[in-house]
């Protein structure tokens, strides 16, 4: 059973979109912790 182009495209594009959002989530958490004085 061979994966279609669509399967490959959805898998890779979806993963790349989530990975793109990750640094934004991290920086958001950092700002939140810094404002609360909870970094360390």
């Amino acid at each position: 059973m061979i994966a279609s182009i669509g399967f490959l495209e959805v898998l890779v594009t979806g993963a790349t979109i989530v990975a793109t959002a990750s640094p934004i989530v991290l920086l958001g958490l950092w700002v939140r912790d810094a404002l609360r004085g909870d970094l360390w």
Partner: protein, 486 residues
């Protein structure tokens, strides 16, 4: 290996990038760790690490050179299931989230995973566990030291030994300067660099190659890579899942963070880190499927990632890959150096050699152990003995045998010492047998299955009656407790 054929960057550019980031990591490590004078500050960052740094350090440590370099390698060897299977490594992080909370609540003064096994199961299980854990840690360190040398050589032509030496020396230097605070602080920046770099490369690769040419070329030349019923790849998927769980459940890298995070942070930190980690092997690995479309001649399978990226993106792409993998290497090497030296310090030095050592003596010894471990890793990396994935999967037979003893020991009062010892020994032996007789893709699977059966049977036949408070009362910090034995 032919340097002229494989090197993409000028060696001078390589040295400039290496020097710039080396200075950056060492300065940041010193700055983050400037207040880590005492033992608890050096080993566990004062036990006050917050959520943002907690998520980042879990992600950065799990995004190793094995993710950025072996994910493309596995995609090239096992196709779609190779990278999807690698993504399942995130399950280990996610499942460790509740364990981290329990570890913090059962052992508020704990230091290492060895502490737990010693107190929970006694001396024999502790020694078997230490053997497995230290073997794995050394394997992982060699794997990353080797990856550092391979990467620098592939991208710049700089000699393997020189590149490997520089990367190891930098990580040892800033871990020595700032302990776990330096490791966790630099991990945040390294995570952001890795994520931005991997994402930029992925979007550019999608635009430059395109899914249709990639799919058509793979279908024509290596259709098995697109086969959703590729048997070895499906076995690999489950194997990698268990391997990841085994690695995380037993390794002091993750336990030391569970002890270092402030109360209430362990569960959300590991959960978020796991969820954000899932797409990374797919994003990093899929570029390897571009090999047939690019008609690229890859001389060594573990070089496929940097070679494809450099082929696609030229000099700037090669620099970007260099920076990303350098960050990935540093973020894992420093964590492993710190956590393994904690294990050596607490469980070998204090546990076996100097049970009456004072906190000040242990703080001094901690730094010497980091240095010694770095030196040992350097010596073992000098001959390039194994490909990254081969080394990685060989250790799978060992670590998967610890899943059940650890999980049962944390939650079941009646999990017994005999079950833990036999589970680890028989699991490892059967996993190694499967590795040699069947293949690398079943080693962790067989090891975990046998270990599970042994732990369950032993718990049924000869149950223990462990008192949880023994973990809390006996695991007070090294140098402040009454002794080292149960």
């Amino acid at each position: 290996m032919d340097e002229v054929r494989t090197a993409i960057l000028d060696p001078m550019i390589g040295w400039i990038v290496l020097a710039a980031f080396s200075v950056l990591w060492i300065l940041l490590g010193w700055w983050f760790g400037r207040d880590s004078e005492d033992l608890e500050g050096f080993m566990l960052a004062g036990r006050r690490v917050g959520l943002a740094l907690g998520v980042a350090t879990a992600m950065a440590t799990w995004v190793t050179s094995n993710t950025t370099m072996a994910a493309p390698q596995l995609a090239l060897q096992l196709g779609l299931w190779g990278m999807i299977g690698y993504s399942l490594g995130a399950v280990g992080l996610i499942l460790f989230a509740p364990l981290a909370r329990r570890i913090r609540s059962l052992m508020p003064g704990g230091f290492t995973s060895g502490d737990f096994v010693r107190l929970r199961y006694g001396t024999t299980a502790w020694r078997v566990f230490l053997g497995i854990s230290l073997f794995y840690a050394l394997g992982w360190l060699i794997s990353m030291g080797t990856a550092g040398g391979v990467l620098i050589h592939a991208l710049t032509g700089i000699d393997y030994r020189l590149g490997m030496t520089v990367i190891l020396a930098i990580c040892v230097a800033y871990t020595l300067l700032g302990g776990l605070r330096a490791v966790i602080g630099t991990d945040f920046l390294q995570t952001v660099i890795i994520l931005v770099g991997v994402v930029v490369l992925a979007w550019l690769a999608i635009r430059r190659v395109g899914f249709e040419p990639m799919h058509a070329a793979v279908l024509a030349e290596r259709p098995a890579l697109l086969d959703l019923l590729f048997p070895a790849a499906i076995m690999f998927l489950f194997n990698n899942l268990l391997f990841g769980i085994g690695e995380i459940f037993h390794s002091n890298v993750w336990w030391s963070r569970a002890f270092a995070f402030r109360e209430g942070v362990g569960l959300p930190a590991y959960l978020i880190a796991g969820l954000l980690w899932i797409p990374i092997p797919v994003v990093a690995g899929f570029v390897a499927l571009g090999v047939p479309a690019l008609a690229l001649n890859v001389p060594s399978a573990d070089m496929v990632g940097p070679m494809v990226a450099a082929e696609l993106l030229g000099q700037s792409g090669a620099v970007l890959v260099f920076v990303v993998v350098f960050a990935a290497l540093a973020s894992s090497l420093d964590s492993l150096l710190a956590a393994t030296s904690d294990l050596v310090l607490t469980d070998l030095y204090r546990g076996h050699l100097r049970p009456d050592a004072t906190a000040a003596e242990l703080a001094r010894a901690a730094r010497w152990i980091v240095l010694g471990l770095g030196l040992l890793t350097w010596l073992l990396c000098l001959p390039r003995v194994a490909t990254l994935a081969a080394l990685l999967h060989f250790t799978g037979a060992f670590v998967a045998s610890t899943i059940w003893p650890i999980a049962a020991g944390l939650y079941w009062r009646n999990a017994s010492s005999q079950g833990a010892v036999l589970g680890m020994l028989l699991g490892t032996a059967s996993g190694l047998l499967a590795y040699h007789v069947i293949g690398f893709y079943v080693a962790a699977l067989v090891s975990a299955a046998v270990s599970m059966a042994v732990v369950l049977i032993a718990t049924r036949i000869a149950p223990d009656r462990f008192e949880w408070h023994e973990l809390a009362t006996s695991s007070v910090a090294a140098g402040r407790s009454e002794g080292g034995s149960t």
